[in-house]
Symmetry: C2
Subunit: 257 residues, 2 copies
């Protein structure tokens, strides 16, 4: 992307957004715009905050570690992403970064790390992942920021899991029905959904027993090949979006040229 194509630069901010409003840049945002993208005063930046839609702004002033933007017009009204929770057992860093980035791109609303008996990675830098979530959200043009929860044990999550949400548990072995079929059953569209992808090596017998006793669980299959954890997550979220999500919508047409 050329440095001059500044209207493609899309920033998440906390501030309220509206006509004529000014928005101060954080030190890291100012650094990114000035030194990474080499933007300067009067260049255009797209802003969103997850509440007020998407707005076009111009750089008013930018210096070392500070700067401000002035909003010129609204580009898109606020819209919501579909309501899909993703629960997954953390994996090693590069693949976990990838998993989180892709979950954002594919439009999940809530990202929930879960430690299971066979989870190898038990410490997560939650702040780093939240930054990762913001960057992925900026890039994929979605309008809301998914939440990234503190890690919890599977037992704790199941204990407090809302009774009115179906948890589709991706199971490698056994004779579970295919996720795509489960999501296309007539009753599926009436339910709220969450997806749980286990660690590589799968759930233990103890965990499968505990899961099997819960009425809000649906064991599902992702086909005959053994998928790595991040692939299973992407495939499961794709199936959900295609069956029950917003895939019938198209990306917004915006002519910023």
């Amino acid at each position: 992307m050329a440095a001059t194509d500044s209207a493609k630069t899309r920033l998440y901010v906390d501030d309220d957004l509206g006509d004529g409003q000014k928005v101060d840049l954080s030190a890291s945002q100012a650094h990114y715009l000035k030194h990474v993208l080499r933007l300067s005063a009067s260049d255009r930046v797209v802003l969103f905050n997850g509440r007020d839609g998407e707005w076009l702004s111009r750089i008013d002033a930018i210096g070392r570690g500070c700067g401000s933007l002035e909003i010129t017009c609204q580009l898109r009204a606020q819209s919501e992403e579909p309501d899909l929770w993703l629960l997954f057992a953390p994996i090693k860093r590069a693949r976990l970064d990838f998993l989180v980035q892709k979950a954002v791109e594919l439009g999940v609303s809530r990202i929930m790390p879960v430690t299971t008996d066979r989870t190898e990675v038990r410490r997560l830098n939650v702040e780093r992942h939240r930054t990762n979530v913001i960057e992925a959200t900026e890039q994929c043009e979605r309008m809301t920021l998914p939440s990234f929860a503190e890690p919890q044990s599977l037992a704790a999550i199941l204990d407090s899991f809302p009774e009115d949400r179906t948890l589709a548990v991706c199971a490698e072995r056994g004779d579970a029905p295919m996720l795509g079929d489960v999501l296309r059953a007539p009753e599926a569209a009436m339910q709220r959904w969450a997806i749980l992808c286990g660690p590589e090596g799968g759930f233990t017998e103890r965990e499968l027993d505990a899961l099997g006793k819960l009425h809000f669980i649906s064991l599902v299959s992702l086909g005959p090949r053994i998928l790595r954890a991040e692939t299973a997550v992407l495939s499961a979220v794709t199936c959900w979006q295609a069956a029950l999500g917003d895939w019938r919508q198209r990306p917004p047409e915006r002519d910023l040229a």
Copy 2:
């Protein structure tokens, strides 16, 4: 995975496989078994060649850069992966490795790099990607090795494209129907399929014009968010497998304990 869990070690070999047969290890396979997995004589290794099914073997002898295996019994009969070609514009290295690995896991039969007007990466180390394909195939327990073609230009590929195969072209913009819907139309199951995912930045007008003139092209959508190239590939292949592929099958049950 514990080093002693040797029956989970799965190797692709060129040799014919059958009862009592001996298989010589390549230098790199011997190194991998001996020094990476720390296996030794009489440890078990699963073998497949994409033709004769999957076989259990034992290490007969293993030394510095050489070794042999002796086949003990067949574990699975040969089966075929679904017939799906994947065409994609190469991206930068780490994400491309990932894309190729995931395409193998998700069961495509033919991987075809395509250079387009906006393709940024024009040189591919095809041998390195073929090694990558073998490793991914070993890991995901599939029974066939997908082919990895030499890169070709979009024009050259379209020129020689088989008329009896539908090419689903993933288009970010415009009003194409959702891929999942296209693949679930009654006539879709009668067709052979290929998927084409363009470069980031999409196809040029010139390319879209050329594609639009071909009767075997179907423009399709992957929903309202802008997906990175590797995400688009994974989502598109997932949709195809769930609608027309083999996802109703389950992973093989094998008790090697």
